[in-house]
Symmetry: C2
Subunit: 278 residues, 2 copies
């Protein structure tokens, strides 16, 4: 029995989404589309007397991770590292939940399947209120289109068959919980329109256009975001807003061309993976 195991989970920027509540957290979730990113979360799980969680060297509390460890009957030191900004719409909490599930399964020899671990991480995120669709998208990799909500036993996930360079620039945080706990009918209707558009033509340019339209229709743009998106579009780029953070992302060199010192990564084809045998 190994004492320690490692996992890597891609970051995930959501372009558009719906809110689909259900009493069963493995059926609840969201539909939508996003980009899995080569910038992600690396998680180490080490057996311990008491559970502690650290992110980039600082001890933190993270309900979703606690719930994952409880489900796996595991007490562990969870240490995560990421280059992604926090609370800015990159699925860091989803990445920590899924990475913890994958690594704890290996470190504690729990013998669960990939989909079982995704289900645990997805349910933990939903119950913690920190995300609805990131875990499922981060388990798929690529450019996932979540066409039915919930964990792997209930959902249906397709993808845009493409790869691309991605740039992002973060202005600040937005609370996922505040948005998804509020009035979400108009947001879900806008999300459904965006999904229909991308299902009709699953290409990168349609994806970005649907994302921009969703951000406007769901009324989530701050004045600062609107300004950056305008500047990138004026420079010939294809920008939108990461759901949910005060973050602009763009394909290719859109932010750089507009003069921003943007972070650069790319679409990451695989989903989250444990890095050890099992």
């Amino acid at each position: 029995m190994s004492e320690e195991a490692h996992a890597f989970v891609p970051g995930h920027v959501t372009g558009f989404f719906t809110v689909d509540w259900d009493d069963d957290p493995t059926k609840a979730g969201s539909r939508g589309g996003g980009l899995a990113l080569s910038d992600g979360v690396r998680v180490t799980v080490e057996r311990a007397e008491e559970t502690t969680i650290a992110l980039d060297g600082t001890d933190i509390e993270m309900d979703a991770v606690d719930r994952v460890l409880d489900a796996l009957r595991a007490k562990a030191r969870v240490s995560a590292e990421t280059d992604l900004p926090l609370g800015a719409g990159f699925g860091v909490s989803g990445g920590m939940a899924l990475g913890t599930a994958l690594a704890a399964n290996a470190a504690f020899d729990r013998g669960l399947s990939y989909n079982e671990l995704v289900t645990i991480a997805h349910g933990a995120e939903v119950q913690a209120g920190t995300g609805l669709g990131d875990v499922v998208a981060q388990a798929r990799g690529g450019i996932p289109l979540r066409l039915e909500p919930g964990g792997p036993q209930y959902n249906y996930v397709d993808a845009v068959p493409a790869r691309t360079r991605v740039e992002y620039h973060s202005l600040g945080e937005l609370s996922t919980a505040e948005v998804i706990d509020g009035e979400t009918e108009a947001l879900t209707a806008a999300g459904e329109r965006a999904i229909s558009q991308v299902v009709r033509e699953p290409t990168l340019s349609t994806f970005m256009r649907a994302s921009r339209q969703f951000a406007r229709e769901a009324d989530l743009l701050t004045p600062e975001l609107t300004q950056v998106i305008g500047e990138v579009a004026d420079a010939g780029g294809d920008p939108s807003m990461a759901m949910l953070g005060e973050t602009v992302f763009t394909l290719g060199t859109g932010l750089t061309d507009a003069g921003y010192d943007a972070a650069v990564c790319e679409v990451y084809p695989p989903g989250g993976t444990v890095e050890d045998g099992g």
Copy 2:
């Protein structure tokens, strides 16, 4: 509109499988388990006046690839390269079918989704009689467990959450068509027992044990295969037979430890991917 596009599809060794016929080729297929490999097939699709297909520089005929191009209303020069041996149980034909679908969709701007392209490639393989489950497994990556047969709209795919080094040694070819067109009831029953075992404990060691047991029960081992598998097991390794080829594969350094000059690769987490934007 790009004139040329590229895709990479991992190889796939099947450890155990069932045969599940259906009149609808998108519902037909197989259940089973295998390893997606970092050794795979790189496919280039280039618009052309007439369709031609080349593998490693030699012009060949490949029904599954023709069918994929027909479905996409495309005439193209398809050039594939692979380090994998042919007809030896590595899913080269499935890789060419899926790689052609992904690259042709990009080169001809067909605007289809990932699952639509997998469905086309899967149906083409089934109708060509060259494979039943490779395409679906090669679209998943990792260590796929195909729990329901058919293309993405009908199947259910889980996975063993692990990574590992893989070695293989090929002694010769076996005809997939001959086996799957023959009497498959006993084979399917053995495949179902193997699947149950791995679903109960989705780990690498259970996967290899179930694969060995399937090879014996389905009566597919040649005397040469039995000998190599015995030597690797005697040297402390964990070997089995690739379905369907006269090929031994093993985790870690099993074949090397037994004195074979084996090919070395590793489990490849992503599924087949187009390498261009779209």
